[in-house]
């Protein structure tokens, strides 16, 4: 009986220890968000000042008046750390000559630290005048935003489609995005028609931006303000890299975020060094920056130098999408022999987008589709030795089985003890 009591007491002590010491604790001490001073974000507002801006159909005011009011409110609310500029298109030339009209774009307020009064004065001078050269204006705006490492954003506000064909503004936008300068173009259409919607949303789609239709001044103010605020949010800017066509020639990547371009039917190879006891984590998104067929997919494979596939990530989808993404992880186990060195793992990225029928020839070739590749190398995980955590059990069946075995064990123990006492007594 004394033995029994000790057992019980022992278990009680064990449970006390369990309840005090073994509460869930954090293994990752990173409490503070990990941030330091970053590059300055730049925004350029690109305003259409073509003759059609005179139309009085936004809350009973002219489109230009609505835009001016919105600009004034946005200028007041612009975050301090954003460098903001304003460019107009079609503000000066009144004539009919298309060639001159299509060059008519002017920087109204240069991109830089914002002086609210100067900027507002500049906005006040605007008058609706000429053509709508969206393509050339986008090119100039991209030049205005040159320099620095921060994120760049063009907010294009227009009330009509581009009048300067054959330079397709959509192609222009795609080319600008392919320069790898982290530039996003958001477009806003004032009282849009279908053709204009198609063009502006195509421009936005080509750079990963957004398109919004505007019918009220308030909508315009809110949206432009939101986009400027978005530019102020610190984001990680990816590093441009060019993947090779084979594993042997693949560029070596360190942990980080990368962008690349890959054409239709192309494969891209990258290389990451993984040491024993480390885990490689890679994720990739391939964006659809133009009209593509309804069904598509992406495949990423981790391959050894000798061409053996280690692990793959794949995904397929259908319908409207911005990107398709997948990822993989490859833990390289610790090895006992010392000469087991760093392993070069090749990553192969391919996608099965296809240009939609009726796509202009330019959209089928260069630049390819934007690829975003995130690479991490962290410590390798513990291997599982059992399905359940630490091989522990759970549930009523377990309790029943344990009770039954305990009981049977007790009985046997008792009988053996009795038998031994009887034997001892009889001898």
């Amino acid at each position: 009986m004394i033995t029994g009591k000790r057992f019980a007491a022992g278990f009680c002590a064990l449970f006390a220890a369990l309840s005090m010491g073994l509460s869930p604790t954090s293994a990752f001490a990173d409490d503070e968000p990990d941030r330091t001073e970053g590059p300055v974000p730049k925004v350029e507002l690109l305003l259409d000042a073509s003759g059609s801006m005179r139309a009085r159909d936004i809350d009973g005011k002219s489109r230009m008046a609505a835009a001016k009011q919105a600009f004034n409110e946005v200028l007041d609310a612009t975050p301090e750390d954003v460098e903001l500029g304003i460019r107009t298109l079609g503000a000066n030339y009144r004539g009919d000559d298309r060639k001159t009209g299509c060059k008519d774009t002017e920087q109204l307020y240069p991109v830089g630290p914002l002086d609210r009064r100067d900027a507002k004065t500049a906005v006040a001078t605007l008058a609706p005048t000429g053509w709508t050269p969206i393509g050339p204006a986008l090119l100039k705006a991209a030049d205005d935003l040159k320099g620095g490492e921060g994120s760049r954003r063009i907010v294009l506000i227009s009330d009509g489609e581009d009048t300067c064909q054959p330079l397709d503004p959509c192609e222009v936008a795609r080319d600008i995005a392919a320069r790898g300068i982290h530039l996003t173009i958001d477009t806003l259409g004032l009282v849009p028609n279908t053709k204009m919607r198609a063009q502006l949303s195509c421009i936005a789609e080509a750079t990963g931006g957004t398109y919004t239709s505007i019918r009220h001044t308030e909508e315009l103010t809110d949206r432009v303000g939101q986009l400027v605020d978005r530019a102020a949010d610190p984001v990680v800017t990816p590093v441009a890299v060019e993947g090779a066509a084979s594993c042997a020639a693949a560029p070596q990547l360190k942990p980080g975020l990368y962008t690349d371009r890959t054409g239709f039917g192309e494969h891209r190879w990258y290389r990451v060094d993984v040491e024993p006891g480390q885990e490689l984590r890679a994720s990739v998104s391939v964006a659809a920056d133009r009209a593509v067929n309804n069904d598509y997919g992406v495949l990423m494979r981790a391959v050894t130098r000798h061409g053996r596939e280690i692990v793959r990530g794949s995904e397929a989808g259908d319908g409207r999408t911005d990107a398709i993404s997948t990822g993989l992880r490859y833990p390289k186990p610790e090895q006992d022999d010392d000469d087991a060195g760093t392993e070069a793992v090749c990553l192969q990225v391919s996608h099965s987008y296809a240009p939609a029928a009726g796509t202009p020839a330019a959209a089928k070739g260069k630049p390819g589709l934007p690829v975003e590749l995130a690479v991490d190398v962290v410590g390798a995980p513990d291997d599982a030795s059992d399905v359940a955590a630490f091989g522990l059990g759970r549930g009523w069946w377990l309790l029943g089985a344990l009770v039954l075995t305990g009981f049977v064990g007790g009985l046997l123990w008792g009988w053996v003890a009795r038998w031994r006492v009887t034997v001892w007594r009889t001898s």
């Binding site: 009986m1 919004t212 994720s283 009770v403 305990g406 009985l411 008792g414």
Partner: protein, 269 residues
């Protein structure tokens, strides 16, 4: 004297079981969150720019039809996250044939995660569209070739599909919320990840001293649950197994006692 001993033994056992019961009820409470930040009112437009939210907090965003809205939240092992999204459509954007709103959930490796339950996609035929997606329980470890949810960042993507050009750009408001059910030991598997699947984990850890500096440097994801990530060894299986051991011991004592009768040696032997 022996009767007293027996009584004491029972007393100890009862105390032990009571303590165990208290532990069982206390365990889920440890995962509950208390912090109350201001709700987020914006959404990102890509994985890279996803707005970080916390579980149990409602985030809103005004957007346009056609936008791809991204949020991210942390989920830890033993949780079964449910993402709920509500889209409020203006008259101009509602009742559009062919348009469907859908919510997709991706893990920290940008792998799409399947939903166990929930209307992941609905046609835009009313003023509000309610979407939901319940993920499979998050496990502490899985094979590399499996797609099981692992602890780390989860991305929510909300968008409209089947849009015609004429439907693009209409103003909408979206609300999302992520909540988790505590699955407990039922999903407790062996093994742990060295680090949760938080994008950029290896880049950030390079300079931990910079962490305290200021709040402007960008990180891919700073997601972390309220109480930090679980270290991976706690599971209520310890309690079940421990309790099983105690009960087995008691049953053993019982069985032993049965064979001894009332505890006295047979008289007249």
């Amino acid at each position: 004297m022996r009767t007293t001993h027996l009584l004491r033994t029972r007393l100890w056992a009862t105390v032990g079981l009571a303590g165990l019961a208290a532990l069982l009820t206390a365990a889920p409470a440890l995962a509950a969150s208390t912090d109350d930040d201001t709700p987020r009112t914006d959404a990102g437009t890509s994985f890279r720019t996803a707005t970080e939210i916390e579980q149990g907090h409602r985030a809103t965003a005004s957007a346009s039809t056609g936008d791809y809205l991204y949020w991210s939240f942390p989920a830890d092992a033993g949780q079964r996250p449910t993402v709920k999204a509500t889209v409020k459509l203006p008259e101009s954007a509602a009742h559009r044939p062919g348009t469907r709103w859908r919510v997709d959930v991706y893990d920290g490796l940008r792998r799409r995660q399947s939903c166990m339950y929930g209307m992941q996609s609905r046609p835009a035929d009313a003023a509000t569209v309610d979407l939901a997606c319940t993920l499979r329980p998050v496990r502490a470890w899985s094979d590399t070739w499996s797609n099981d949810p692992l602890p780390g960042t989860y991305y929510i993507r909300l968008t409209a599909t089947g849009l015609r050009t004429a439907d693009l750009g209409a103003p909408v408001t979206a609300e999302v919320e992520a909540n988790s059910k505590d699955i407990g030991g039922a999903a407790a598997v062996d093994g742990t990840l060295a680090k949760p699947l938080v994008p950029g984990a290896s880049v950030d850890s390079d300079d931990p001293d910079d962490a305290a500096d200021s709040g402007t440097r960008a990180a891919l994801s700073t997601a972390e649950p309220e109480d930090g990530w679980a270290s991976g060894w706690w599971t209520d299986r310890w309690i079940w197994t421990g309790a099983g051991g105690v009960l087995a011991a008691l049953a053993g004592i019982g069985g032993y006692a049965l064979t001894r009768g009332n505890g006295r040696a047979p008289s007249g032997a």
